[in-house]
C-alpha cells in the first residue's frame, strides 16, 4: 500500500473541506473495497478522510412510506433492523446477502454506491425502488446516479449522506451468486408500487446496474412470474468474464426476474 495522510474529521463540513482541498483525497467508510484496492495499488490516494466519526451519517430512519439509510450504516444493521425487516423486508434480505458476515459488519451503503462495482447488490435496489441519493450538495435521482463501470454522478469531493428508498406494496431481490466472492453474477430487484408502477433493477449483468423496461411493461399489465418468463433479453453489451458469458447472463436476468416476482407474491 502506498503511504497516505490519514484524517478523522469530526463533522461533515470539515470532511468535505478536507476532501476538496487534497487532489487525491478519498473518503474512507468501511474500507472493504477501498483498502483492498489500495493494498493492490489499484488505488493510491494521498489522503484518506475517515467518515467513522460522523454520527449524522449513521442514522437509519423508517417512516410509513420511506426508509432512509445513512451513508455510514453497515450492511449488517440494515439486514437485522427489525423496522426495516417489517417495512421493507426485500431491502433487509438484500443487505443480508452481501459478501459474508465480517464484510457486512464493516461495509456501508454509501461506500457501496460510491464505489459502484458492477456486481454490487445495493444498486439493484436503488433502481428497483427508485431511491433518492442525498449528498452534501443535492439530491440525485437513483435513475441518474449510475453512469458506467465504477462511474457515478458524484462530483469530486461530493459526499453521500443518505439514501431514501420508497416503500412498495411488494418487492423481492434474487441474486445468482458468484460462489467464490458472493458478488452478484446477476441480481434482479423487482418492486410493485401498485397502480401500474412496477420497477425492475438489474445488477451484475452489465457495466453498471440498469432497469429492464420490457419486463416492467409486462409486469405492469400482470404482476405474475409468467409475464417475464418468456422475455428473451439481448446479450448485447452484457459482461463477459470467466464466470459467465453475456448469453448466460442474459438468460439469468429472465430466471432471476421470474423468481423475484414469485418471491414478491409470497
Amino acid at each position: 500500500m502506498r503511504a497516505f495522510e490519514y484524517h478523522r474529521p469530526a463533522n461533515l463540513k470539515d470532511a468535505v473541506a478536507l476532501a476538496e482541498k487534497k487532489d487525491e483525497g478519498r473518503y474512507l467508510a468501511g474500507g472493504q473495497s477501498l483498502v483492498q484496492a489500495m493494498k493492490l495499488r489499484l488505488s493510491a490516494p494521498t489522503d484518506l478522510v475517515d467518515l467513522n466519526a460522523l454520527q449524522d451519517l449513521k442514522a437509519l430512519k423508517v417512516e410509513p412510506g420511506a426508509v432512509t439509510v445513512g451513508a455510514m450504516v453497515r450492511h449488517a444493521e440494515v439486514a437485522s433492523s427489525s423496522s426495516v425487516l417489517k417495512t421493507l423486508p426485500a431491502l433487509a434480505a438484500l443487505a443480508g446477502q452481501i459478501g459474508d458476515r465480517q464484510v457486512r459488519h464493516l461495509g456501508t451503503i454509501g461506500g457501496s454506491l460510491a464505489n459502484n462495482d458492477p456486481a454490487a447488490d445495493y444498486p439493484a435496489a436503488v433502481l428497483g425502488l427508485g431511491a433518492t441519493i442525498t449528498t452534501n450538495k443535492r439530491k440525485i435521482e437513483g435513475d441518474k446516479f449510475f453512469k458506467g463501470l465504477y462511474e457515478t454522478a458524484l462530483q469530486p469531493g461530493e459526499l453521500i449522506t443518505a439514501v431514501t428508498f420508497p416503500v412498495p406494496k411488494r418487492a423481492a431481490y434474487m441474486k445468482f451468486k458468484n460462489p467464490a466472492s458472493r458478488f452478484a453474477i446477476v441480481g434482479v430487484f423487482v418492486a410493485d408500487f401498485g397502480g401500474g408502477n412496477v420497477r425492475v433493477g438489474v445488477t451484475g449483468a452489465g457495466p453498471c446496474a440498469f432497469r429492464q423496461s420490457e419486463m416492467e411493461q409486462a409486469l405492469k399489465k400482470n404482476f405474475a412470474p409468467d409475464s417475464v418468463a418468456g422475455i428473451k433479453v439481448s446479450p448485447d453489451g452484457l459482461n463477459n468474464d470467466l464466470h459467465a458469458s453475456p448469453e448466460y447472463r442474459a438468460h439469468l436476468i429472465t430466471i432471476m426476474a421470474k423468481r423475484a416476482v414469485e418471491a414478491a407474491l409470497k
Binding site: 490519514y6 484518506l48 459478501g99 458476515r101 459488519h105
Partner: protein, 159 residues
C-alpha cells in the same frame, strides 16, 4: 505520515505511533506480537485474520489500524482463561476434531464466538452460511460445523 493509535486489545489499553498505512492485522501481529491472528490471503477473502471489534467479527487485514481507534479488540489470545482453561468454543473445536493443520482455526473460532451470541442453538445450515467468509484449505468444514454447533450450545448452557 505517522499517526498515534490507541485501542484496547484483549482488555489491555495499547497505543503506538504507526505509519498511517499500517493494517490492523500488522499492528496486532508485528507491533503487539500477538501472532495467533493469521494472515492467509491478505485480500479479505479467507477470514484467517478475523478478530472481534467491539464484539463483532471483522477481517483485520481489511482495515487500517486507525479504523480501530478507540475500539475494543479481542484476538484469539484473549479467549481462553488466564489459567489456560479453554473457552467452550475452543474446547468444542478440540473435542470435535474441528482442526487439521490449524491455520484457519483462530479466525474460525473468533467468527464462531460472535455468531454464537445470536445463535445459541444453530442449525448446520446457519453455521455454513455464517462461515462464508472463512476458508479452510484442509477442507475440514464438516467437523468445523460440528464444533461450532457444539460450542454454541455449550456457550448457551454456561450462561
Amino acid at each position: 505520515m505517522s499517526v498515534k493509535v490507541s485501542m484496547k486489545v484483549n482488555g489491555q489499553p495499547v497505543s503506538a505511533e504507526l505509519e498511517s498505512r499500517t493494517l490492523l492485522v500488522t499492528f496486532i501481529r508485528e507491533h503487539l506480537r500477538l501472532t495467533g491472528t493469521h494472515v492467509g490471503c491478505d485480500t479479505a477473502q479467507c477470514g484467517a485474520c478475523t478478530v472481534l471489534m467491539n464484539g463483532k467479527a471483522i477481517k483485520s487485514c481489511s482495515i487500517v489500524a486507525m479504523q480501530a481507534e478507540g475500539a475494543d479488540i479481542l484476538t484469539i489470545e484473549g479467549v481462553a482463561k488466564p489459567d489456560g482453561t479453554l473457552h467452550p468454543m475452543q474446547a468444542a473445536f478440540k473435542e470435535n476434531h474441528g482442526l487439521q493443520c490449524g491455520f484457519c482455526t483462530p479466525g474460525m473460532v473468533m467468527n464462531a464466538l460472535d455468531f454464537a451470541k445470536s445463535h445459541p442453538n444453530p442449525t448446520d445450515q446457519e453455521v455454513r452460511e455464517a462461515l462464508e467468509g472463512n476458508l479452510c484449505r484442509c477442507t475440514g468444514y464438516h467437523n468445523i460445523v460440528k464444533s461450532i454447533v457444539a460450542g454454541a450450545r455449550a456457550m448457551a448452557a454456561a450462561k
